[in-house]
C-alpha cells in the first residue's frame, strides 16, 4: 500500500492543474518517507482562496445541508470499512509515518469516523445548531423564533499531528456548515487530511471543489500571513507560539478557535477501589495513559487516588504498572527517538532523586530494560506534566478538594479529568471538578473518546463559527420551516 509516492496535498480541479509540486522527505533521517507536496507561495495561497470562494458560491452555498451531510456520512462509512481503499490507504500511510502503532491507528480511525457515519453528521449539526434546516433557511428555534445559521464563506484550519484522526472532525465541520476550507497539515501527520479530501472528491465533487489541503513549514511568516490575513474564520491546533502568532496576524473580526497545548488527569474514588474491581480500574487507567502514547490533550499525566478504600493507592499503583506492562504488547508504543527516551530516563532519575531525599513516600515503577512505561507514586496532590510516552504520576490523596486545589493554578492547561467513582459520588465529584473550570469530565477508560456532540477546549465545534439571521417580523412572520416534531403525540 505504501509503494510509490503519496500526494500529501489536495487541490480542487481548476487549480490543481497549474500547481507546482515537489517531493520532500518527512520523518527521521533513517526512516524518512517521501511525499509529494504542492509548492506553496503567498501568490498561490491567494489564488487558491479565490478559487475556493468562487466554488463555494457556485457549488456549496445553495445546496441543502442535509444532502451535504449525507455525502459526508457516506465517506465516513468508507473509512470504517476495513476492506475499502481509503481505509487501507489510511492505515498504511499513517503507519508509514511512524508516529503510532497499527492497533492505535485502527482505534483512532474507528473512534473518529464511527460517530460521523449513519446520520452522525446530521445529528451533530442539529445538536449544535438546533436543526439542520436552519443552515438552509430560517427555521424556528426552541423558543419558536425563526433563525438561519450561516457558516463563514471560508475558513483556515491548521492541524496538529499529535493524535491520528485529528483533522477529520474539523474538516467535516467546515463542509457541514457550507464553508469552504483551506487546511494546513502538520509535518508529523500530513497524510490523512489529503486522503480524506480525495475520498470526498470521489463521493461528491461539488463538495471537494471547495477545499484545499496543503502543507507548508509552520513559522514560514510570509505563508502564514498570506493564509491568515483575510481568513474570516480560523481553527488552529498548535504550540503556544504558533497560536499566539496566528492570533496576531488574523483579521480583527475573524472568528477564531485556537487550541493550544493541554493535558488531562484522572481521579479514582475510594469506593471504586475494591479487591474485585482493582484490575478493571487499573486497566481503564492504563488504557487512557497508553492510547496515543500521551500525545493527546486528553491523555492523563497524573492520576489522583483516594486513600481509605479496600485497597489503597499504592496497591492501585502496582496494579496500574501491571496493566501498563500488559499493554506493551496489547497496544504497543511507538519506537521512541533517542532524545525522547533520554528525557524519560532523566525524569526517572529525577524521581529516584526525590525518592531518596524526600518524605513524600516517592516510589518509581518502570518497565524493565526499556522506557515503555514509567510510574512515579507519591503522597499528596500536585500537578506536574510528565515527558509523556506513558510516563504517569500516581498521587495518594484525601479527597477531591485537595485535587481541585492542586489543579487550580494549572487549570487552563487541563482539558479533561477522567473519573472512576460509584453511584451518587459521581455527581458530587463532577460538581467539584466542574467548579475548577476543567472543560470535560469523563469516565475513566474513555478519556480519549470525546463525544462529537461535546466540546473541545470548552467550546463547540461548529457553533463558534456561525452567524445568525433572526427573523423578527412580529406575529405575521412569513413562512418558515418548523423543526420536525419530536415524538408525535396521539391526537
Amino acid at each position: 500500500m505504501t509503494q510509490g509516492l503519496f500526494d500529501a496535498f489536495y487541490l480542487p480541479p481548476g487549480v490543481a492543474e497549474e500547481a507546482e509540486t515537489s517531493v520532500q522527505r518527512f520523518g527521521p533521517a533513517h526512516d524518512s518517507v517521501e511525499l509529494r507536496l504542492a509548492t506553496v507561495t503567498p501568490a498561490a495561497i491567494g489564488r487558491w482562496i479565490d478559487a475556493l470562494r468562487a466554488a463555494r458560491a457556485e457549488r456549496l452555498a445553495r445546496r441543502p445541508a442535509a444532502e451535504i451531510h449525507r455525502a459526508l456520512e457516506r465517506v465516513a462509512q468508507r473509512f470504517l470499512d476495513p476492506g475499502s481503499a481509503p481505509r487501507r490507504s489510511a492505515m498504511a500511510w499513517l503507519q508509514r509515518m511512524g508516529q503510532f502503532s497499527a492497533p492505535m491507528i485502527e482505534r483512532a480511525l474507528e473512534d473518529t469516523f464511527r460517530p460521523l457515519a449513519s446520520g452522525g453528521v446530521s445529528r451533530w449539526v442539529a445538536s449544535e445548531v438546533g436543526s439542520v434546516a436552519a443552515l438552509d433557511a430560517p427555521a424556528r428555534d426552541r423558543r419558536g423564533i425563526p433563525r438561519r445559521a450561516t457558516g463563514p464563506e471560508w475558513m483556515l484550519q491548521i492541524y496538529a499531528g499529535n493524535v491520528p484522526g485529528l483533522p477529520v472532525w474539523p474538516l467535516y465541520s467546515a463542509l457541514a456548515m457550507k464553508t469552504a476550507l483551506l487546511a494546513k497539515t502538520s509535518s508529523m501527520e500530513p497524510v490523512l487530511a489529503p486522503l480524506l479530501a480525495r475520498t470526498i472528491a470521489g463521493e461528491d465533487p461539488d463538495l471537494a471543489a471547495c477545499m484545499a489541503v496543503v502543507w507548508w513549514k509552520g513559522g514560514s511568516t510570509e505563508l502564514d500571513r498570506a493564509a491568515v490575513r483575510d481568513a474570516p474564520a480560523v481553527l488552529a491546533f498548535g504550540g503556544e507560539h504558533a497560536i499566539a502568532s496566528i492570533a496576531r496576524e488574523a483579521y480583527p473580526d475573524a472568528r477564531m478557535v485556537l487550541h493550544g497545548p493541554k493535558v488531562s488527569v484522572a481521579y479514582v474514588s475510594r469506593a471504586s477501589l475494591t479487591r474485585a474491581g482493582l484490575g478493571g480500574v487499573a486497566a481503564r487507567a492504563a488504557y487512557d495513559v497508553a492510547l496515543y502514547d500521551q500525545q493527546g490533550c486528553l491523555s492523563p499525566h497524573a492520576i489522583y487516588v483516594e486513600r481509605g478504600g479496600d485497597v489503597g493507592p499504592a496497591a492501585f499503583a502496582a496494579a496500574l504498572g501491571q496493566a501498563l506492562e500488559e499493554l506493551r504488547d496489547g497496544l504497543p508504543r511507538r519506537v521512541l527517538e533517542a532524545e525522547h527516551a533520554a528525557r524519560v530516563q532523566l525524569y526517572r532519575a529525577q524521581a529516584h532523586f526525590e525518592a531518596a531525599l524526600e518524605s513524600r513516600g516517592t516510589r518509581v515503577l518502570t518497565s524493565s530494560q526499556s522506557t515503555d512505561w514509567t510510574l512515579v507514586y507519591e503522597d499528596g496532590a500536585r500537578f506536574e506534566p510528565t515527558p509523556a510516552y506513558r510516563t504517569v504520576r500516581v498521587h495518594a490523596v484525601s479527597g477531591a478538594e485537595e485535587v481541585a486545589d492542586a489543579l487550580a493554578p494549572a487549570a487552563r492547561y487541563i482539558e479533561a479529568i477522567g473519573v472512576e467513582a460509584k453511584g451518587s459520588e459521581r455527581g458530587k465529584l463532577a460538581g467539584t471538578f466542574a467548579s475548577t473550570g476543567i472543560p470535560r469530565i469523563a469516565a475513566l477508560g474513555s478519556l480519549q473518546r470525546p463525544a462529537l456532540t461535546g466540546t473541545h477546549g470548552g467550546v463547540h465545534r461548529i457553533l463558534p463559527f456561525l452567524h445568525w439571521s433572526t427573523v423578527d417580523l412580529g406575529a405575521t412572520a412569513a413562512k418558515t420551516r418548523r423543526p420536525p416534531p419530536k415524538g408525535r403525540k396521539r391526537s
Partner: protein, 369 residues
C-alpha cells in the same frame, strides 16, 4: 585531594595518557568524598544501591540527573564562604539550579588548559572581544565567569559588547575596525545567538570587516533550547562573510553549568597541526563520557548515538557524574552531538512539558543576553 586533581588536569597527556588508571583512581576517591561532603548526593547514591563502599569501577558511580540541581542543593556544604555561585539552565521545570563553589581553582585549571589548547594553540596573546556581559553584570553565569577568566589570564586585554543587558553593536564595530586598521588579530568569544544577532544587524547595515589573519572565534550554545534554528554551516559562513574568519578559525564549545570542564571542536588545533579537523568535540583526558542506550541504559558501541553521561574530574564540590538529556555518540576521545528536533516541528495540542521547558529556557536565555 584538590591539589592532586589540579595536578592531574594540568599534566595528563592529551593522547593515550592514562596508562596507570589515574583517572579511575581519582574518580573513585572524588566520588567517596562527595558522598560525604554533599549529603543529598550521598543519600541518592545509597538509595541507588551504589554508596561509597559499593562502587569499584568509575562507571558505576551514580550519575545525578542534571535536573536535580534545580530541585536540590548539590554543592558541598559551606558556611556562606563560597567564591562563586553559578545558576544552571535548561533541563527541566522549576527554578534555576545552583552550583556553589568555595574554590574555583579546579574549574580554572580545566578551563585554562582546555581553552589554550583549542583556541590558542599558537600561544598568541590576543585582544579579546567578548560578545556578552562582563562578569560584574552576570555574577551567576558560568559562561561569563569563563570569559572573564580567559580575558584576564590568557589575553592581552578585552572589551565587552553587552552592557546593562543591551548589546552595544557600535562598540563591536569600533573594536573590529581597530583590529583591521592596526592589523592586530583578535579573539572573539560569545554565544552563537548573540553572534547571529550581530551578523543579522551587519547584513542590514551592510557592515563587514576583513579581520587580519590569525583572528579567531569561540561560540557556544548553538540555538539549543530556543526557537531559532541556526545551522552550523550558516554560522561558519557568516563568520567568513562578515568578519573574514575562516571556518578553520571558528571553534564551537559545548558546556553546561553543572560541569567544570568544557568540550571544544578541534578546528583551530587541526589547522596548527596541519591536519584535517576531526568531527565533533574533544573530550579532555580528565573527563570521560559514557554513551548509553536510552532504552536500556546499557553502554552503546563506539559511534552509536545514545544519551550522554559525563564524568568530570573538575567537579569536586559538585557531583562528578552528570546524566544529561543530550544525545550524542563517542569515538575515542571525541563526542558528536545529535541535533534536537526543531522546535517548530513540535506542535500539537498536547506537549505542555515541552512548552514549560521552552518557557523556562527562554527565561534563562533572556537573562543571558
Amino acid at each position: 585531594m584538590i591539589q592532586e586533581l589540579i595536578r592531574f588536569i594540568r599534566e595528563v597527556p592529551w593522547e593515550g595518557g592514562d596508562a596507570g588508571g589515574a583517572f579511575a583512581d581519582l574518580a573513585l576517591r572524588s566520588f567517596r568524598l562527595q558522598c560525604e561532603s554533599i549529603p543529598e548526593y550521598g543519600a541518592y547514591a545509597r538509595h541507588m544501591g551504589a554508596g561509597p563502599d559499593g562502587v569499584r569501577d568509575w562507571r558505576e558511580i551514580p550519575a545525578v540527573p542534571a535536573s536535580a540541581f534545580r530541585s536540590h542543593d548539590l554543592s558541598a556544604r559551606s558556611e556562606g564562604d563560597e567564591a562563586v555561585t553559578f545558576e544552571t539552565s535548561g533541563t527541566t521545570i522549576s527554578l534555576p539550579g545552583r552550583v556553589r563553589l568555595r574554590s574555583t581553582e579546579l574549574y580554572e585549571a580545566s578551563l585554562s588548559r582546555n581553552f589554550a589548547r583549542h583556541l590558542l594553540p599558537d600561544r598568541a596573546a590576543l585582544q579579546a572581544i567578548i560578545f556578552g556581559p562582563p562578569r560584574s553584570e552576570a555574577q551567576h553565569s558560568s559562561l561569563w565567569f569563563m570569559a572573564d577568566h580567559v580575558a584576564r589570564e590568557l589575553c592581552a586585554g578585552a572589551t565587552w559588547i553587552v552592557e546593562g543587558g543591551e548589546p552595544r553593536w557600535e562598540r563591536a564595530d569600533e573594536e573590529l575596525a581597530r583590529s583591521v586598521a592596526e592589523r592586530r588579530p583578535v579573539l572573539l568569544l560569545g554565544t552563537t545567538l548573540l553572534f547571529h544577532a550581530y551578523f543579522a544587524r551587519c547584513a542590514r547595515e551592510g557592515v563587514r570587516f576583513a579581520l587580519p589573519a590569525g583572528s579567531r572565534a569561540m561560540d557556544t550554545g548553538g540555538a539549543k533550547g530556543t526557537r531559532v534554528e541556526i545551522r552550523r554551516d550558516e554560522v561558519e559562513a557568516a563568520f567568513a562573510r562578515v568578519l573574514a574568519i575562516p571556518p578553520s578559525h571558528v571553534v564551537n564549545e559545548y558546556g553546561m553549568a553543572e560541569m567544570g570542564s568544557q568540550f571544544y571542536q578541534d578546528t583551530l588545533l587541526a589547522t596548527k597541526e596541519r591536519r584535517r579537523a576531526r568531527p565533533g568535540f574533544v573530550i579532555p583526558p580528565w573527563v570521560r563520557t559514557r554513551v548509553l542506550d536510552p532504552e536500556t541504559m546499557r553502554e552503546r558501541p563506539r559511534g552509536v548515538p545514545g544519551l550522554l553521561v559525563h564524568y568530570d574530574l573538575a567537579n569536586l564540590e559538585i557531583p562528578l557524574a552528570i546524566q544529561t538529556e543530550d544525545v550524542g555518540a563517542r569515538a575515542e576521545s571525541r563526542l558528536t552531538l545529535e541535533g534536537r528536533l526543531p522546535e517548530a516541528e513540535r506542535r500539537g495540542c498536547s506537549l505542555p512539558f515541552e512548552r514549560f521547558l521552552e518557557r523556562e529556557r527562554e527565561r534563562v536565555a533572556e537573562g543571558e543576553p
